[in-house]
């Protein structure tokens, strides 16, 4: 069974159709890229999967279970974690606390046990801290564990966001422009890390990325979106040659593209 199944999803904001009849199936272990020009609806699709928006039409299923209309926290419990395009850490909390908070759904003791300082609570706290530090170590952030997350350099904030998402123990990881603002060397390290993390955490990864070297470098399959429509899908090599993709990105006028009636196609 597919891990994620998006079935003919449409999302409208009043008169604006942000995503139109979008379908995508992810098999366990896949690493898929979602690309498209600015405003194509990529992040909107992430928001649909993670429950920030509810689809106007269509359905979203995690392992066959419909999640359309569920709260993001419940969808996270089902194994979907994400990062955000414009980094959303908990800036005033320490690096360690950012990861610690993400263990929320795995906690067994209640707030009452915390208030009573129950032994079970204490040993769980110790466990969470160990696990969090182990995760930080993977991302080279364990030295910075006591610093405020907001004071970290940009690249480290991006890494911390991935560490925090992994702490929720996801099966599906959604990465929204992980390479944004990184230099070529950092991008190389990031690609290495995404591959490694997928392997070791047995993850399925869906990644939005503008940087073609990164997308082409790590993704096995790519879906191209423009104006809320899928215009192409396939392996990196196929996508690179696809005239519709080239048109969408380079703004080639469209006489040779029959059926492309999207508004403003000739940018």
């Amino acid at each position: 069974m597919a891990l994620l199944d998006i079935l003919n999803c449409t999302l409208r904001f009043g008169g604006l159709t942000a995503v139109k009849n979008f379908s995508l199936a992810l098999e366990p272990g896949e690493l898929v890229g979602l690309i498209g020009p600015n405003g194509a609806g990529k992040t909107t699709i992430f928001n649909l999967i993670s429950g920030v928006y509810e689809p106007s039409e269509g359905d979203i299923r995690i392992e066959g279970k419909s999640v359309a209309g569920m709260r993001p926290s419940r969808i996270n419990r089902l194994g979907v974690a994400r990062t955000f395009q414009n980094i959303r850490l908990f800036p005033q909390l320490t690096v360690l606390d950012n990861v610690r908070v993400a263990f929320h759904t795995q906690l067994r003791t209640s707030l009452l046990e915390a208030v009573l300082d129950d032994p079970a609570y204490r040993s769980e706290e110790a466990w969470v801290e160990d696990q969090a530090i182990a995760l930080l170590r993977i991302f080279g952030l364990d030295e910075a564990r006591g610093e405020r997350a907001g004071s970290l350099p940009y690249g480290e904030q991006r890494r911390l966001e991935i560490a925090r998402a992994l702490a929720t123990r996801p099966r599906l990881l959604l990465l929204d422009e992980p390479a944004a603002g990184m230099n070529p060397q950092e991008k190389g390290e990031l690609m290495e890390m995404i591959r490694w993390v997928r392997e070791h955490f047995a993850l399925t990864v869906l990644v939005i990325e503008h940087d073609m070297s990164v997308v082409m470098g790590i993704c096995e399959r790519i879906v191209v979106l423009d104006y809320g429509n899928v215009i192409a899908a396939g392996t990196p090599a196929e996508i690179r040659r696809d005239p519709k993709v080239i048109a969408a990105y380079l703004g080639v006028d469209a006489p040779e593209l029959p059926g492309n009636d999207a508004p403003g196609a000739g940018r």
């Binding site: 974690a81 005033q92 610690r100 929320h104 707030l111 969470v128």
Partner: protein, 345 residues
């Protein structure tokens, strides 16, 4: 590291440390109880009354800090919860006092037990109001929530104003005087302990995560509505108990005391002390309770000076006296001994 995340181990023995903590707490309570008699004899009633107010305001400010400071939900209804606790507990001791004497007259401390039960009942009523109102209003954000909670506080006040059996517009007189420093500071200590333990725990860090970024908190599996309501309920509970202490200290209640200006007083304490700092709230509650009394000498300029001091303080330290930091005895001790603790482990 093959499997970085493993299941938690079963609860292992740290019971001794926990027991020790409770023994220390009991010892402090006993010391407070003992010192009460000494203080009563040594201090004049005016200073004693101010100390009572300081303790009550600490309870109110720290409990509001859980809502406003830690969870970031701007509530202006704290005086309403305080009023609920005050009137509920006062009505219980007022109407059941004679009954308790008749039924349990021989039992030592019957009136004290009734007082404690009334305090708890006041807290529970306030907490239930918090739950009832929190579920719909906490969907609102920022300014909208502030206005909704402000309205809530006023509704509570007006409803009580029209209840004849608690005095209505005449005010509620004849409430027995039961509050003393022991109960006031016992409750304040309990409030501090509970809010502290809630907010340092991994589960309780959810409150802070909501303040920091609600969308991200929700995406990390935190049911934000549930935690906002929890903060509201716990905060309201302690506000209710604080109200009960207040009622049994002044022995006379009027709804005017619990107008939204009172709520703003508590908000000022939280903001001045630092949103998300318990010790900050404690210091601010003490300073803002004592300061108007010290300024009595300045007569008509008193509130002008008070306001100016507030403005200057907020200009100088917009993040509050302590920001989000805490004053910790352990850290001060370590510094005095000249050794430095490793960075927050």
């Amino acid at each position: 590291m093959e499997a970085p995340i493993q299941p938690p181990p079963p609860g292992s023995g740290e019971r001794r440390a926990a027991v020790r903590a409770w023994i220390v707490a009991a010892g402090i309570a006993a010391a407070l109880l003992g010192s009460q008699a000494v203080l009563d004899a040594a201090l004049n009633p005016y200073i004693l009354q101010i100390l009572v107010y300081v303790g009550i305001n600490i309870t109110l400010a720290v409990s509001l800090n859980l809502i406003n400071g830690y969870t970031g939900q701007f509530s202006l209804g704290h005086a309403g919860f305080m009023a609920l606790g005050a009137y509920t507990s006062a009505a219980l001791t007022f109407y059941l006092g004679a009954f308790a004497d008749r039924a349990f007259g021989g039992v030592p401390g019957a009136q004290t037990i009734l007082f404690v039960l009334a305090l708890v009942a006041g807290g529970v009523v306030a907490a239930m109001a918090g739950l009832l109102v929190g579920i719909p209003t906490l969907r609102l954000r920022g300014d909208y929530l502030a206005i909704a909670t402000l309205g809530l506080g006023e509704i509570i006040r007006v409803v009580i104003l029209n209840l004849d059996f608690v005095g209505g517009a005449r005010g509620f007189t004849g409430i027995p005087e039961r509050t003393n420093l022991f109960w006031v500071y016992g409750v304040a200590a309990l409030t501090i302990l509970v809010v502290h333990r809630l907010t340092v725990s991994t589960r309780g860090r959810a409150f802070l995560a909501i303040r920091e970024d609600e969308t991200a908190a929700e995406a990390m599996g935190i049911d934000t509505t549930r935690y906002k309501v929890t903060a509201f309920v716990v905060g309201a509970f302690f506000a209710g108990i604080g109200g009960g202490l207040f009622a049994h200290s002044v022995t006379y209640l009027h709804t005017n005391t619990f107008s939204f200006l009172k709520s703003i007083e508590f908000v000022v304490m939280v903001v001045l002390g630092g949103m998300g700092s318990i010790t900050g709230s404690v210091i601010a509650a003490a300073v803002l309770t004592v300061l108007p009394e010290l300024l009595r000498a300045a007569q008509e300029l008193r509130m002008v000076i008070y306001s100016l001091l507030l403005i200057v303080l907020m200009l100088a330290r917009p993040q509050g006296l302590l920001g989000t930091r805490e004053i910790s005895v352990r850290r001060i001790g370590a510094r005095l001994r000249g050794r430095r603790r490793a960075p927050a482990a």
